[in-house]
């Protein structure tokens, strides 16, 4: 079975139970919150996380980000896969 963060088109990652994305007005930053965990989302990371809703496939997330930022799809794909793999290892994301 393909892992989150692989290029397989079939995976639909979503936030793990107990994890949510939060916009903090005091810091003007997107923050990923989990049990005893707080991670500030840098750059466009929150755009990727907002699409980890269990309905978007990884390929769709890449397509949408490439359109949104009008950027090279291959570059975006590398960034998206790296972020998803990292957050899956930390158990913030499940499939």
């Amino acid at each position: 079975m393909a892992e989150i963060g692989s290029a397989s088109g079939e995976i639909r990652p979503r936030l793990a139970p107990g994890v949510r994305l939060h916009f903090d007005k005091t810091r003007e930053a997107w923050i990923l919150l989990g049990p005893e965990r707080v991670i500030e989302m840098e750059g466009p990371s929150h755009e990727i996380l907002q699409r980890c809703d269990g309905t978007h496939t990884t390929a769709q997330i890449v397509d949408e980000l490439a359109t949104l930022y009008n950027a090279d799809r291959a570059t975006i794909e590398g960034d998206v896969l790296a972020l998803l793999a990292d957050l899956a290892t930390k158990r913030f994301l499940v499939r």
């Binding site: 793990a16 949510r20 939060h22 005091t26 810091r27 923050i31 049990p35 989302m41």
Partner: protein, 377 residues
Amino acid sequence: MSLSLSTVSVPTVHRPIGLLAELTHRCPLACPYCSNPLTLDNVSRELDTATWSRVFHQAADLGVLQVHLSGGEPGARRDLVDLARAAHDAGLYTNLITSAIGLDNKRLSALRDVGLDHVQLSIQDIEAGQADRIAGYTGGHVRKLAFARQVVELGFALTINAVVHRANIGNVPALVALAADLGAGRLEVAHAQYHGWALQNRSALMPTADQVFQAMDEVERLREQYADRLVIDLVVPDYYASRPKPCMGGWARRSLNVTPTGRVLPCHAAETIPGLEFWSVRDHSLQDIWLRSPAFQAFRGTDWMREPCKSCELREVDFGGCRCQALAIAGDAREADPACSLSPHHAKMHALAEQAQVDPAQLAQPARYNYRGRAPA
């Protein structure tokens, strides 16, 4: 990626991340290592629902991201669901820290419906006889196991917290297996912290060095084995450490603690330090307390430090360790935490651990505890 707090308005003051809300000191359990103070707050003086709600909103405005609804047993508050709703509505990630006793499936479902994010359940050991003896509460363990399954069934993320000490530290591998079996995503193996009730019971709780290091080795091995389903957090207990922990992530730097009657503390044991002036949410806003109250200013930053901390290159890493432990063992809250090998009191701390140890032959004997809130046996 880590949280940088570069947007704070006052350069030397960070925004807090966490708020520990001690909703009540009432608890059906009587654990001999309880972190509540020796003199427990009376129910008649507890903050009401509206005041807590105001505190949660002020906390969010101050930058707090996560609130931990704790106690005592938060389930003893009849307005717990309303309190969780208020915390969620304030925009806070809301965590319930509970013993399970007094929380039925109906209230648990209601907590989910108002937006509770996470549940942390304490267990005392792996089997009912010993677990209930440690907690001083018959029938507790069985109810905790049933509660854990309800938590997972309702779709919550579950953390199991187990305080380990001489009587149960040998069961760490079985605790890990139990946590995984219950469906927890995270296990905290916490050593008893020797303040308050635990200090009263230090000689009955202190594990041997062999026990401590064996448990750490076992956890290392189990972390790998359970990597795909369980995060295991465990730290070296201070009495066997050579470097101090950055207690609370630094005094008045990351978190604050509100007691049942509304006093605001930089850490749950701060009231053991004489001469500190604590302000109350009844008289001041949380922001005022965070920025200006004498207790928060007392050990904020590094200006208060003496040697060996003052010139130490790790002073902004560990912030001198724990002030309460410095007071308890070095005799002054401004000294370095004696957990540090550079402290002149470091040897004394090891000696205390050794004194508290028993003959290995006695390890099988049940320890005698001074139970929290009850007359000594």
